[in-house]
């Protein structure tokens, strides 16, 4: 092979602490190197042209550039060598900036290390092979999992772009947490007034198929060609017939069913429509409370339903959908505030979660929008809000900031003072986090215009005194202990990953962090992508987020899908695993470890079993290669031989 080496000075970024001339001179001694030079800015236009000129002039078959991290410029140089007629994989990059010049000032040692890195790159390049990508057609339908505001936004944007959308929501209605909110910060507009129209849009779009009360059962396939099984849970009501008139709900004699939409501040009937604006507005039976199922008698709803929609024999149904991309928008759940025993959440009826208070404030909530104490239904006068309950507290395993609580308590305090001008509102906080547009102003308004009393400090204990609650805490600014008697205590319960996030991630083969939030492909540069091609993230499932950010990410995910679908076929990355059939012994251990289901077995004509990689599914993680005993499965462009060649140089 004829190899050319280009050692970049990067101005003085590299040349300042590395003798780039010496590195280039030494490179001429390495096997197969026929040309080596040092250049001031290799990535610049003239720098790239220099590479191309030398490839032609010197008949180079491979190129090494010793410069910065390949993360940024490897694609640049690959394109450059390609323009000069080489295959883009006949190129290697040695990082002598981030790994050398920027981390030490010892020029002699740096130069030595740079030489070794270049030598390793040359040694590897000698084993490089031209690689080619293949094309697979794209199925231009998109699956969106979770229909909170993020999923709804993504669905509408995809639908507007002309894509067929399959929307899967596990609850009976779409809307997510936003549907439960009363007003929204920082503008105090009514949540259901702004969300409602979007929900209605979903139901009216012809290219959106909505599966409510449904969950994803399994996912197979790969970008462009996923196959998804969806379990539609039995609602015992034929939704094709049900008009949502609610007759059944009014007549149902079983009144003690849980009401998750109202955060259990009220009870529901065994047959229920979660809220008036629900989409789809259909009734569903909770069989744990239905007298037909529990006692074997009743049947009131079946008798009353004017369209005969009740079907006690309904079974779960499995539907298959084929899509080319998936957006995950499964949102969040609330931290279980009863973990803080000293606050008595879940034990004292007047110590409630932030979302419960949203329901109390809401006109469609359990008290019709009048602020009342859950214990006795009376109007409270002193209301205490406690920030960071299940946020920024490593002792409960939640060291992160939930991002929305500071803002929502300011909002709730403002609304409280609006509803009950004579009330006193106190907020115990650690710091105030309000870094959004008009957010800090909003918090200030709570403090200055609405007279909400902010007390900086942690609450140590809440206990009942008479029919009121005593909140004991510290005021760290004044350095004193404070005690507030309250009628109602609202805990700003933090945000955590939605229940079942982990299992869904396993099905989708995407990663999640230690708290269950899904991992974006790059925290800054790829915040919407996952590491699984064709699977995107939107909303709070990726990390705590408010509505504007969730909506923005919903649109961003939709844009990513549209960009993916703008082509008719996708080029696969050839840096994937490949089986050498001559050495594969068919033990299929590779299949057992592949996290992406990218390997299948096949039987050759002589009856022998071999592994086979689906190039478009493989993510190039290399687990199969590490597992394969005869090393028959090799990661292209990072083969054992290539890595061994590098190691041999390093250890020589």
């Amino acid at each position: 092979m004829r190899i050319g080496v280009f050692v970049c000075q990067c101005g003085t970024n590299i040349a300042g602490t590395v003798d780039t001339e010496a590195v280039a001179r030494r490179a001429m001694e390495y096997a197969d190197v026929v040309y080596a030079t040092s250049y001031v800015y290799t990535c610049s236009e003239p720098g790239q042209q220099e590479i191309q000129r030398r490839i032609k002039e010197m008949n180079l078959q491979g190129v090494v550039v010793a410069a910065c991290s390949p993360r940024m410029h490897e694609p640049t140089f690959r394109r450059a060598v390609e323009r000069a007629g080489l295959n883009r994989y006949m190129f290697e990059m040695a990082n002598i900036r981030e790994h050398v010049s920027w981390i030490s000032t010892d020029k002699e040692a740096n130069t030595r290390k740079a030489m070794e890195l270049v030598h390793m790159a040359v040694a590897k390049l000698r084993f490089n092979q031209p690689l080619f990508s293949s094309k697979v057609p794209i199925n231009k339908r998109v699956l969106i999992i979770g229909a909170g505001v993020a999923g709804i936004q993504a669905a509408l944007d995809c639908s507007d772009g002309g894509l067929d959308v399959v929307l899967v929501e596990k609850n009976p209605s779409i809307g997510g947490k936003m549907a439960q909110l009363d007003k929204t910060f920082p503008t105090i507009d009514c949540s259901s007034c702004i969300l409602g129209p979007k929900m209605v849009d979903i139901s009216q779009k012809e290219n959106v198929t909505l599966h409510a009360c449904s969950e994803v059962e399994s996912v197979s396939g790969y970008v462009g060609n996923f196959k998804v099984q969806i379990r539609k849970k039995a609602t015992y009501v034929n939704w094709n017939a049900c008009t949502g008139c609610g007759e059944c709900v009014r007549k149902c004699p079983s009144r003690k069913a849980p009401d998750p939409f109202n955060e259990h501040l009220a009870t529901a009937r065994a047959i229920n429509i979660p809220f008036p604006q629900a989409i789809p507005k259909k009734a569903a039976i909770n069989r744990d409370y239905c007298l037909h199922f529990t006692k074997g008698k009743c049947g009131v709803c079946k008798k009353i339903c004017p369209v005969n929609a009740i079907d006690y024999d309904m079974q779960d149904e499995l539907v298959s959908e084929e899509v080319g991309a998936i957006i995950v928008a499964t949102g969040f759940d609330l931290f279980d505030h009863s973990v803080y025993g000293e606050y008595g959440g879940g034990r004292y009826p007047d110590v409630i979660s932030g979302l419960q208070y949203e329901r109390i404030l809401s006109a469609s909530g359990p008290f019709g929008g009048h602020i009342r104490r859950p214990s006795n239904g009376r109007e409270p006068r002193d209301i205490v809000f406690i920030a960071c309950v299940g946020s920024r507290d490593a002792s409960v395993g939640r060291p992160y900031c939930s991002g929305v609580c500071c803002m929502y308590i300011a909002k709730q305090a403002i609304l409280t003072r609006d509803h009950l001008p004579d009330s006193n509102c106190y907020v115990f906080y650690m710091d105030i986090r309000s870094p959004g547009k008009n957010y800090d102003e909003f918090v200030r308004r709570a403090q200055e215009e609405y007279g909400v009393q902010y007390i900086r400090g942690r609450v140590g204990k809440i206990y009942p005194r008479g029919d009121r609650m005593v909140v004991q805490g510290a005021d760290t600014l004044l350095g004193i202990q404070v005690e507030v008697e309250a009628d109602l205590v609202v805990l700003a319960t933090g945000v955590e990953a939605s229940a079942g996030a982990g299992e869904l991630a396993e099905k989708l083969r995407i990663s999640y962090d230690q708290y269950g939030f899904y991992m974006e492909s790059h925290p800054k540069l790829r915040p919407v992508e996952t590491n699984t091609a064709g699977v995107f993230l939107a909303g709070a499932c990726q990390g705590p987020k408010d509505i504007p950010a969730s909506v923005a990410q919903g649109s961003a995910a939709a844009a990513k899908v549209q960009a993916l679908f703008a082509r008719d076929a996708i080029e696969t990355d050839p840096q994937v695993a490949l089986v050498n059939e001559r050495t594969c012994v068919g033990c299929l251990k590779c299949i057992m470890v592949c996290p992406f289901g990218a390997i299948q077995s096949k039987t050759l004509r002589d009856g022998s079993i071999k592994a086979e990689v689906l190039a478009s599914v493989c993510q190039g993680c290399g687990l199969c290669n590490a597992t394969c005993p005869p090393k028959a499965i090799q990661l292209q462009h990072a083969t054992d031989n290539q890595i061994l060649a590098e190691l041999n140089i390093l250890c020589a």
């Binding site: 012994v585 033990c587 251990k589 057992m592 470890v593 996290p595 090393k631 054992d640 031989n641 061994l644």
Partner: protein
């Protein structure tokens, strides 16, 4: 066909026998000299013809061998349905080589077991040895003398001689030595290795056979050069390929013509597997060896 043990070229050396009909049954023997783990023949024996649909193959297994079967079944290299397993609770087999070396015997006429003694008759006289004195190392540390799967159990189950917490006492003894001592020990042991690959060939779980990277050199992890680093590398590869899979049957060590204690390396890896991943190979046909799974929530790591 049934695979079992029969008398070999002399009464001290037992050989595998392949019974094809009722008339062969008389060739079958069982005594503490039946040292071979026969399960390897099921996966790599050119001797065992491919099974006809619905037919079974019979195999005699001791406790340790049965764990090899479990491992092979877990990895889908064997199907349980194709086997008829004769399980034999085993009181321990002998280290025949040590017996020969230490007794200096030759010209052996007959061998009998009398209680807990072995009586060897050669041209001159009868020699009596306590069985216990010549038990193989693998048997001295055996925790599973009773087959863990079988269709027929040939004798009554017996009590294991080693408690689980003592299972890795040889490894612990080795680790009690200084780093330098250990280095010296392994250097001199492995330096004797002639890379005959008997250890690999005898291992029922070494399934690559002539695709083994020690010989294909594709990719080129190993070369033909005769030096200590190459020998170390070969043994590391062998051990790592068995990490979490090795059932400690000890065949690799038994067959080594250079008497290198190679099972000890695998025992160390198994000790780690036990402590870190709470897994013991070859016990539960439904379980999966931890290194053959992808589980991001792996406990212990």
């Amino acid at each position: 066909m049934v695979i079992g043990w029969g008398t070999g070229y002399d009464p001290l050396h037992v050989t595998p026998v392949f019974l094809r009909g009722l008339e062969d049954v008389s060739r079958l023997i069982w005594n503490p000299l039946c040292v071979q783990n026969l399960t390897g023949y099921l996966v790599k024996g050119a001797l065992t013809p491919p099974l006809e649909e619905g037919k079974k193959i019979g195999i005699c297994v001791r406790g340790c061998d049965s764990r090899s079967l479990v491992a092979l079944i877990q990895e889908k290299l064997l199907s349980r349905e194709s086997l008829h397993i004769f399980g034999i609770p085993c009181r321990g087999t002998l280290d025949v080589r040590r017996l020969m070396n230490e007794s200096g015997l030759s010209q052996i006429r007959s061998v009998t077991i009398q209680g807990d003694h072995l009586v060897v008759q050669n041209d001159e006289e009868a020699h009596r040895f306590p069985l216990e004195r010549f038990l193989a190392r693998r048997c001295l540390r055996c925790r599973h003398p009773n087959p863990v799967i079988y269709d027929e159990l040939v004798y009554q189950p017996i009590t294991p001689r080693t408690a689980p917490e003592d299972a890795y006492r040889d490894v612990e003894a080795m680790e009690a030595r200084s780093l330098q001592e250990r280095h010296l020990f392994w250097s001199s042991e492995l330096d004797r290795c002639i890379r005959c690959y008997a250890c690999r060939n005898a291992c029922p779980l070494c399934i690559c056979q002539d695709r083994c990277i020690a010989e294909t050199r594709e990719p080129r992890w190993l070369t033909q050069r005769v030096n200590l680093p190459e020998k170390f590398l070969y043994h590391f590869i062998h051990a790592l390929h068995l990490a979490g899979r090795c059932t400690e049957c000890g065949e690799c060590e038994r067959v080594c013509p250079m008497e290198i204690p190679v099972t000890l390396i695998k025992e160390k890896l198994n000790q780690i597997t036990r402590d870190l991943l709470h897994y013991e190979a070859g016990l539960d046909p439904e379980a999966l060896p931890p290194l053959l799974t992808y589980n991001p929530n792996e406990a212990g790591i």
